[in-house]
Amino acid sequence: MVVPAGDFIVGTVELKSNVTLHVSSSGRLLGSGKPEPYTAGKGVPPGNGNVVLLYAVDADNVTIEGRGIIDGQGDKFYTGKGDNTGPGGNRAEGYVARPHQAIFYRCRNLLVRDVFFTRSAYHCMRILECRYVHLDGVRIHNRVNLNNDGFHINSSQYVSIANCHVTCQDDACALFGSNKFVTVTNCTFSTRWSIFRFGAGRRRTSRYPTA
């Protein structure tokens, strides 16, 4: 699947197994600035919101690559209201019905490289219960809305993050739940909150046996 040169406005897109999304160097995939084209990702658990621009569930060998731009236009979802997941926050009144830029749930052999992600309405990239994840050369600039996380990794295994540059508003690299074998190398980060955040979320028994 190729995004050629030019701007293309989309809503929610699901990536199936063995799909490569290539965003060419002068291509820009724009998330719609309106809520209607978005849906919750099918099968994505609702905690922390599951409305999303790009997602994959139970998929193998998904790749997103290329030197183009994925722009969530998240500034158009700004209300001044966050998700209230911080200490003492009332989660029931949190604003979670805005689209994350990418969610990968229970995927294996995920590769994201070279793409520039920007202006998400919520978190940039959520990696939930995945295994064998490689993020290389990714650039994130995510400072247009509250709770603008960079990488948000929950209960995943064998995750490598290398050569990435992240500027965001909230957690740059959150490691929640039960993660194992995560490496972060040769990256730069800047944020208004935490870079490496550990310990939030619930511990869960891994769906994978310990190697």
Partner: protein, 59 residues
């Protein structure tokens, strides 16, 4: 390289039943980071019967 971070670079909070081990950071460069490292336990219930174990080792 961590730069212009007006929060916490490494923030670890261990709640009930959390287990963290074998976490290593090396060659971190921080430039203009207001809160480099924060490691702490969440508050636990006063009643011993309600307390759940948590631990962190080999950080």
């Amino acid at each position: 390289m961590i730069y212009d971070t007006y929060g916490c670079v490494i923030k670890m909070r261990f709640g009930a039943e959390s287990r963290v081990e074998n976490v290593a950071f090396s060659n971190l460069i921080m430039n203009n980071a207001t809160g480099p490292i924060s490691i702490g336990l969440d508050s636990s219930p006063r009643r011993p019967a309600q307390r759940k174990p948590r631990w962190a080792r080999r950080l």
